[in-house]
């Protein structure tokens, strides 16, 4: 089997606030294979976003190792981390992903500026990505002129425009109604199945979690269990069991 897309070993990320130390992640281990579609679930404050930010190179751990797509992120400078994000990761956040002053297609073109593509190629690729998310008729709309679901789909188009190996989504359906959420989830499933993208999605929504291949449950900065949706049972040998 290939090297894992994501490998976290003994990762700790802690915050000190008012003399009190909170371990957002506590000696955390996780491996996600290439082509996997993983949902991360857990109570509020359990460290889901912290995990995603570490994997995406937006944040650094206080201890432990984060290896993504073969890169040990601890070894990278801030500037190299930025390049890593540009080349390897596509992000979708909860709401307010887009720059409000740019149109949909301009937003999608933005990360393509960081590739060697020519202006014409960038436009072509952005239009293609928007077509993929079913928004070819909204390319010149500003974010404010789009519905929440459309906005998220533009964000997904932007995340996949640069053809990254890994798509990280933090509550991509958090602000959406049922129908919009469904179309976003369908899209992510398709990216995983058809385009073989590795996807990690933080969610509170059980329905969203169901659409993923695996569900990682977190609590208080620790891995609780990993559920394989195909088996619908806790995975054997999950760290949670060793530790409970």
């Amino acid at each position: 089997m290939n090297a894992p897309a994501i490998q976290l070993s003994q990762v700790t990320r802690q915050y000190t606030r008012g003399g009190e130390t909170v371990k957002a992640l506590d000696e955390f281990d996780l491996e996600i294979p290439q082509g996997g579609y993983y949902a991360i679930m857990g109570p509020s404050g359990s460290g889901k976003s912290t995990l995603l930010n570490l994997v995406g190179g937006l944040d650094r751990p206080d201890a432990g190792q984060v290896v993504v797509a073969g890169e040990d992120l601890n070894q990278l400078t801030s500037s190299e981390l930025a390049d890593f994000r540009a080349n390897t990761i596509g992000f979708v956040f909860q709401g307010f992903n887009l720059l409000p002053v740019l149109t949909a297609v301009q937003n999608v073109e933005l990360p393509l500026l960081l590739t060697p593509l020519s202006r014409g190629e960038r436009r072509k690729q952005a239009l293609h990505a928007l077509e993929l998310v079913g928004l070819s008729d909204r390319i010149n709309h500003r974010p404010r002129q789009l519905s929440g679901g459309q906005e998220q789909r533009v964000a997904i188009a932007r995340a996949l425009a640069t053809d990254p190996q890994l798509i990280l989504a933090d509550e991509p359906t958090g602000d959406l109604d049922r129908d919009s959420a469904s179309s976003v989830l369908e899209l992510l499933e398709r990216l995983n199945a058809e385009f073989k993208k590795t996807i990690v999605m933080v969610t509170h929504d059980a329905r969203a979690a169901d659409s993923a291949g695996h569900v990682v449950h977190l609590d208080k900065g620790k891995l609780e269990r990993i559920v394989d949706n195909r088996l619908k049972a806790p995975e054997a040998g999950a760290p949670a069991e060793q530790e409970a």
Partner: protein
């Protein structure tokens, strides 16, 4: 930095149209004022700069307001190096109303045009000036202002030289002159010294005897040496004189304004500082407001330097646009402003140097005002920035 998101700079400027407009308006006003101030300062100096260096001015060593005897003319004329010595006397007459202020000088009419080649008039006027005792020449702008034409008779109520019959002096316009140097403005009236002098001698009017100053045209010898000789000639009286270059003489008038140039400069400095603060405030606001956007850009993989440049370029762009509009307004209004203040300041020109300096100042203000918000944005932690309220 592979490629720069230029589009964002423009879009961000347009993102808050009202704020951008207001900041641009302040920049426009500030740079308009700066150009005007600098042009006024330039105008004050223009007379000095344009002064001829082959002319000297002789004035009383005591004060400009003490007259020199008429008898000095022949003596000065005989000093080696002096080609001509002509008398100038400030007349200070009132034309119809005291608010109609303009300068009138009684001068040695027969040599005025020779000593001042920058004064141009036509042949007929020059001839008439020689022939008619009550003749006067008026500058183009003066003629324009009051509608004076050749053949007009201008009544001037004497103040320094009041006529005992209570009547105004009557001067006949024989010509309109142009000036090719900032040294002589076009808003002056020249009339004949002999007319003033004869009236004075006939005791038909009051006023001091003698001439205010002598202006000397040199024959090419070193001005300093000639000046020293003239000063030496009268060292032991009856009246000591002070002979200076024309530039030095003009400078007296600027220094009579005392702190005015310094005052104007400090207003300019204050305007610059105020506009810097205004732009800095705008850019800090813009930077803070876009914290979330910067988080998104960084998450997408844009380098901190790009985020820094976004704000810096926006700031510089804003200042250059506002500056350019202000400068254009100053240039566009040059004629109108010049006319409005021409009596106080005959030379008013928004010089190219002023325009370039103002544009440079705009760029510098943009840079300075952009650095702080830019650095702040560059140093933002991505996660913190993404957490910021939109």
């Amino acid at each position: 930095m592979l490629r720069f998101p230029w589009l964002l700079v423009f879009k961000n400027l347009g993102g808050r149209p009202l704020r951008t407009f207001l900041t641009l308006a302040s920049l426009t006003v500030a740079f308009f004022l700066l150009c005007v101030l600098r042009s006024v300062l330039g105008g004050l100096e223009a007379g000095i700069k344009a002064s001829a260096n082959d002319r000297l001015v002789v004035q009383s060593a005591v004060s400009l307001f003490v007259s020199l005897p008429d008898s000095y003319q022949a003596k000065i004329q005989s000093v080696p190096g002096v080609e001509d010595a002509i008398r100038w006397q400030w007349f200070g007459g009132i034309y119809q109303d005291p608010s109609n202020f303009f300068a009138q000088f009684a001068v040695d009419h027969d040599r005025l045009l020779k000593v001042y080649p920058e004064i141009h008039t036509d042949e007929a006027a020059a001839q008439a000036f020689l022939e008619k005792r009550t003749a006067c020449l008026v500058g183009t702008k003066l003629a324009q202002r009051y509608g004076f034409k050749v053949g007009d008779r201008i009544p001037l109520q004497g103040t320094i030289f009041p006529r005992f019959d209570g009547q105004p002096w009557q001067l006949d316009v024989v010509g309109i002159y142009r000036s090719s140097s900032a040294n002589v403005d076009e808003q002056t009236m020249f009339f004949r010294y002999d007319y003033l002098d004869e009236t004075r001698r006939a005791e038909l009017c009051g006023g001091p005897q003698g001439a205010g100053v002598y202006v000397l045209a040199l024959d090419g010898r070193a001005p300093e040496a000639v000046a020293a000789r003239v000063d030496a000639l009268f060292r032991n009286g009856p009246q000591a004189v002070n002979t200076t270059s024309e530039a030095e003489f003009q400078r007296q008038f600027v220094s009579m304004l005392g702190g005015v140039p310094v005052f104007l400069s400090s207003i300019g400095g204050g305007v610059l500082f105020a506009i810097l603060l205004a732009v800095l405030n705008t850019m800090l606001m813009a930077g803070r407001e876009r914290t979330h956007d910067f988080g998104v850009l960084k998450a997408l993989g844009f380098q901190a330097s790009v985020v820094f440049m976004l704000l810096l370029l926006e700031s510089v762009g804003l200042c250059l646009i506002g500056g350019a509009i202000g400068i254009s307004l100053a240039v566009g209004s040059q004629a109108a402003v010049g006319n409005a203040i021409s009596l106080v300041l005959p030379t008013y020109e928004v010089a190219q140097e002023t325009q370039l300096l103002a544009l440079g100042a705009a760029a510098v203000i943009g840079l300075v005002a952009g650095v702080l918000p830019g650095l702040r944005a560059a140093q933002l932690e991505v996660v913190e920035a993404l957490r910021a309220e939109v």
